[in-house]
Structures are given as structure tokens and as C-alpha cells.
């Protein structure tokens, strides 16, 4: 499965400054693991120490929050867009 991942500014430094990267994975867990392989450090603030999703960074498959899909086991389809969205507080 090839999907397109939209990265927030805070994670772009791990991906050479790119705003979007293509990556592979049948599930979200697999995708994040592959991303980490390609861009070491990129999932450090997305995943908790025990491998779950943090509650202050949301991940969307297309327009749906994965918390309402299958969380890390959410199955991905070719062409899906994954958005990673951290809580920000600036004003």
C-alpha cells in the first residue's frame, strides 16, 4: 500500500524538510514503523514508549481520526492520505 503522509512542521526536520512523504504500510502501525525506518526519530513524539498513540497528537486517515477507526491497526488503502496533527497552542 502506498500512502501519502502529510507532516506537521514539527516533524519535517526528520524528513529533510519535506511537507509530504510517500510511505508503505498495510496498517497504520506498519506505516509508522516504515516511516521510522526511513526517517529515524519521526515517530518519537507520535508513539508512546509502549507503542500506543499519544493523546496530544492526532492521526487522520483521509478525514477520519484513527481513534474512531482501528487506531494503530487501522487498515490502509492505496492512495490514502495520512495527516499527523499535533496539539498547538500559539495565538
Amino acid at each position: 500500500m502506498s500512502v501519502n503522509v502529510k507532516l506537521p512542521t514539527i516533524l519535517r526536520k526528520h524528513a529533510g524538510g519535506e511537507a509530504r512523504v510517500d510511505a508503505q504500510g498495510a496498517t497504520l502501525r506498519e506505516l509508522l514503523s516504515n516511516l521510522e525506518g526511513s526517517y529515524p526519530g519521526i515517530t518519537k513524539n507520535v508513539l508512546t514508549a509502549d507503542g500506543g498513540l499519544h493523546r496530544f497528537i492526532n492521526v487522520y486517515v483521509n478525514d477520519e481520526d484513527v481513534r474512531y477507526l482501528g487506531s494503530l491497526e487501522t487498515e490502509l488503502k492505496d492512495g490514502d492520505t495520512i495527516s499527523i496533527l499535533p496539539a498547538v497552542a500559539g495565538g
Binding site: 512542521t9 511537507a19 493523546r55 496530544f56 477520519e64 496539539a87 497552542a89 500559539g90 495565538g91
Partner: protein
């Protein structure tokens, strides 16, 4: 009794009054509306200025800070001669210059669990333009408990988010979106991370749009959707925003039933703007 426009108001609001969908009725609703802006910085400046221009009758400004030279790159309600003045005074002058008919109520204070109900109580619509997590969670909880619509906007470097939280039956709140704030030290403030100067102008203008739509009943607001904006790619995305049945504030069995301050677990500098 229907409020009659003065001759000056007919001229001032002519482009709204002739605009299908707003019209005289919509303009009257704006004149009667009471909107409070939490923060008069990057977001609060464009929000309050557009609300004043639109003729929102009563505008509240909440901020404890004073104008700093480093604010002027983006906080357009303030000018060079305002450096050192309380932001609420500087912003009040800016709004009155745009539209002297607007009644501006200033609160030169930090919003806390002690004063939040008193400050927010008199208002119809709350606009969140603050710069830190503790006040964002506080504003969310208070508006949920008071049953007031909250126009949310937030920025970081080149990215912004905006939505409308409207308390009601199974409607989401900020805690449904982000149940927990990031741990201290993981997210830099604007002072530490920088902010693209025009970014709050874009996001704040979106917030003003939503506040005006709420006040007039015009169109569809961002309720149930989160708008995500990236200035670098000029990408506007909306994602679904769902009610969380387990939300501690608006869920089926709320565990947060009174206001609390979050400073104890949010170590992010709240004065850094």
C-alpha cells in the same frame, strides 16, 4: 421592538445591508451581539478588528500582557507607539478607531478558574485566541459548562487550526479533539519556536468569520470539522471532529465538573505569547 439604524449606520454597514443573506436583519443581529476575545495578540487582533468593523455591538477583550516590540510583526491591533501599554487598552483604541459605535469591555487580567465564569458569563460567543494550553483547556471547560459556543483557533510556526465547539447533545469539545496537552517542554511557544507573521492573520480572520456566522445564523460553521491550514503549502484541509463519549467534560459520565487550572502539568511558558 425592531432597532432602527441611524443614518451613519446605514452608510457604515451598507455593504452588509445590501448583501443577500446578511441584510438589515443580519446587521441588527451583529449590532446586538456580544463577543469576547480571549487574548489580544496574533489571533485576537484580527478577530476583534474584523468584529468591530462588522459592527458587533459589544466586544470583550481579555489579556494581562503589555505590548512588546516583538509583538508588532503580527499583532496588528497594536502599533509602535503602544509599546509598553496594556494590550487591552491598545486594542480598545484600535477598535474604537475602526468603529466608535462598538462598546469595548476590557479585562486586564489572566483568565483563571477563579474568574472564568464571571468573565465569560455575560457573553454570547467566546473566541479563543490565547497562547497557551492551560488557558485553552480552561476556556473549553468553562464554555462547555456555561453552554456557550467557542470559536477555536491555534497556531504554530506555519500551521494553524480552527473550529467551532458548540455545547449540546453529543457535540465535540476541545478535549474530544486533544484529550491531553503535550507534556511540558515538547512544544515550544511562539517566543521559542517563532511564528510566521501573517499566519495568525489568516487563522484569526477565519475565527472572525465563524463568530459572525454564529451571531447572524449565516451559512454552516466549522462545527464537527477541524480546519487545518499550512501556510508553506497553502493547503487547507478539513477533518472530521467527533464527540468522544468518554470525554471528561462533555462525555456521558463527566469527571471534570468544576473549573481547574492546568499550570501544574503544563510547564509551557504561558507569558511567552
Amino acid at each position: 421592538m425592531t432597532r432602527e439604524f441611524t443614518v451613519e449606520e446605514v452608510q457604515r454597514y451598507a455593504r452588509h445591508i445590501i448583501l443577500p443573506g446578511v441584510g438589515a436583519e443580519g446587521q441588527r443581529k451583529l449590532l446586538e451581539a456580544k463577543v469576547v476575545c480571549i487574548g489580544t495578540g496574533g489571533l485576537g487582533s484580527p478577530v476583534s478588528m474584523y468584529l468591530a468593523a462588522a459592527g458587533v455591538g459589544t466586544i470583550g477583550l481579555v489579556d494581562f500582557d503589555v505590548v512588546d516590540l516583538s509583538n508588532l510583526q503580527r499583532q496588528i491591533a497594536h502599533g509602535t507607539s503602544d509599546v509598553g501599554r496594556p494590550k487591552v487598552e491598545s486594542a480598545r483604541d484600535a477598535l474604537n478607531e475602526i468603529n466608535p459605535n462598538v462598546d469595548v469591555v476590557t479585562y486586564d487580567t489572566i483568565l483563571t478558574s477563579e474568574n472564568a465564569f464571571d468573565v465569560l458569563g455575560p457573553w454570547d460567543i467566546v473566541v479563543d485566541g490565547t497562547d497557551n494550553f492551560p488557558v485553552r483547556y480552561l476556556v473549553n471547560d468553562a464554555t462547555q459548562m456555561l453552554g456557550k459556543p467557542l470559536v477555536y483557533g491555534s497556531i504554530y510556526q506555519f500551521e494553524g487550526q480552527a473550529t467551532v465547539f458548540r455545547p449540546g447533545r453529543e457535540t465535540p469539545c476541545y478535549r474530544c479533539l486533544f484529550p491531553q496537552p503535550p507534556p511540558p517542554g515538547t512544544v515550544p511557544s511562539c517566543a521559542e519556536g517563532g511564528v510566521f507573521g501573517v499566519l495568525p492573520g489568516i487563522v484569526g480572520t477565519i475565527q472572525a468569520t465563524e463568530a459572525i456566522k454564529l451571531a447572524t445564523g449565516l451559512g454552516e460553521t466549522l462545527e464537527g470539522r477541524l480546519l487545518i491550514f499550512d501556510a508553506l503549502t497553502m493547503d487547507f484541509t478539513t477533518v472530521k471532529l467527533r464527540w468522544d463519549a468518554d470525554c471528561p467534560v462533555c462525555g456521558k459520565e463527566p469527571t471534570v465538573t468544576e473549573l481547574i487550572d492546568y499550570d501544574q502539568f503544563c510547564g509551557i511558558p504561558s507569558r511567552a505569547d
